[in-house]
Structure formats: structure tokens, C-alpha cells
């Protein structure tokens, strides 16, 4: 894990590329028993909602974005993740996640690292954007 003192404004976290497969999405939806059919796992239902195909649930993309940050800062490092779902996220396509550090501050005894975080597609799609705060140890 990086130390707070090593981080500089503008540093990048990632990028990391992942694919959410059909099976991954079915598995994820079963966690909360998503009513079926739904636009996440059924193409006809997705089409009726105006989608080009089945989509990845926002909360699943959120879990993927959080993973980028906890892989970097440690399992308990995430303090805030605030995302805007800008476009439907497709299954079976490369999704690139990355964050850029925008602020460093010490607050309530914690070393906080604030960043802009983004999920993009191969054609320049900006699927999800937002902000995150991660707490790091100092040296």
C-alpha cells in the first residue's frame, strides 16, 4: 500500500481493465434476488427499456470502482465513493477504470486522498464518473 507522504496531486490510480460477462452479471443479480426478467440479464426487457442490450447494474460497476481503490489503498481505505451513472454499461466489453488524485488533506486525524474516478469504454465512452475519498497511512 502507498503511504500518504508518497502521494502527489495528479498521481493516477490504475488504469485497470475489466470485463463484466453475462455470467458475472447473473451471479451479481442473484445476491439481492433481482426480480426477473430484468434489463440486466434479459435482452428483451433491456430493449423495452430503450437499451441496445443487457446492461451491467450500477451497483455492480460501483463495486468494480471500489475495488480499484481498495486494491490501491487497502481493504478499509475507502471513505466515500460518489458516482454518477452517465451511460448504460454493456456486458462483455472492456471497461477501463482509473482515478486521478485531486486533493490531499489531513482531517480528523486521517490522511485523506481525494480523487476523480472514471469508467470508460474502448470508443471513448464515459460510462461513469465521480469522486472518491481514500484514507492512507502516513510514514
Amino acid at each position: 500500500m502507498p503511504y500518504y507522504d508518497e502521494i502527489e496531486l495528479g498521481d493516477e490510480i490504475g488504469p485497470v481493465e475489466k470485463v463484466a460477462t453475462d455470467d458475472d452479471v447473473v451471479n451479481f443479480c442473484d445476491i439481492w434476488g433481482a426480480p426477473k426478467p430484468n434489463r440486466f440479464t434479459d435482452a428483451d426487457t433491456a430493449a423495452k427499456s430503450g437499451m441496445k442490450g443487457t446492461i451491467v447494474p450500477g451497483i455492480m460497476t460501483m463495486a468494480m470502482m471500489a475495488q480499484l481503490l481498495t486494491d490501491w489503498g487497502g481493504p478499509g481505505s475507502l471513505k466515500d465513493l460518489d458516482l454518477v451513472f452517465r451511460q448504460p454499461v454493456p456486458h462483455n466489453r472492456p471497461l477501463t477504470m482509473a482515478a486521478t488524485i485531486t486533493d490531499l488533506r489531513e482531517e480528523d486525524g486521517q490522511n485523506l486522498v481525494e480523487c476523480d474516478i472514471l469508467m470508460t469504454g474502448t470508443e471513448g465512452e464515459r460510462y461513469i464518473g465521480g469522486k472518491a475519498i481514500v484514507a492512507l497511512e502516513g510514514r
Partner: protein, 149 residues
Amino acid sequence: MAMELEYDRSLYGVEHQAGPFEITDEIIDRANSSIGESGPAFSSDDGAKEAGYRGRIAPPTLCCILVRQVALPDVKVQFGKTQMHAGQRVEPKAPVYAGDQLTASSHLKDVYTKTGRSGTMVFVVWETTFSNQDGQVVAEVQESFARRE
């Protein structure tokens, strides 16, 4: 001039309780396998203890999944036909351990309009606080839903 929105304003100030939700190993396993999470603290007691926890912990967005199981009332917004999940925020406050029993308390936080290039949209924002069996707050989750003309 601002549009006068019609919706059920009596929902403000009302807390909707849900749970308990048991955080089983199976739920954590499934959340992990869906996104290829293999972090030691999220995978086993031993891995978590090495990271300084008393036992296996859940990934930090698990409460965002549980919030799907909270039945919330219809806000009865008289606007638009389609609704989409526009955004979500989680602020983890304390570790969620395998075996925890979480309860949720949700309230309507805000309903507002926003006009941009693609027209006017109405946003409905719910805020949910998750607490564990000891009454400790473990996460705050905000969900926002957008209705389009």
C-alpha cells in the same frame, strides 16, 4: 420560472426500517466472484486478521447491494415515464463483518429538477443508514433516480 413538482411531500421526515440482513459468507463470496475480488481481507478470516481485522470483512459497497432489498414507497412524482438509476454514493463508516446482522433506515432526502442539454429531469434521492447488531453505523448510502420527460 421553476416548475412546481407534484409528489408525495408527506414522505419527508419518515424513516422506513428494513432488515435484519445477515451478512453470510455466501453473500460475500458471490459479491467477490462477480467482480473477481480476491483481496485477502474480503476472502477469509486469516486474510482479514493479517490486515488487522477480527475476522473476514465484506467489500465496502456491499450495503449498496443490500439497499436493493429495502422496500421504499412510491414518491408519486408526476413527471416523465421512465426512471433510471442516476447515481449512488456510499460512505463506509465501520467494517462489516461476516456474520453481522445489519438493519437499514431510509428516508427521502430530496426531490429536485435539473435542466440540461437533453431536457428536464427530475431526481429523487433516498438516503439509507445501515447499522450493525450493536447499533454501530457501518455505512451511509445515497441513491438517486432520474425521471425523464
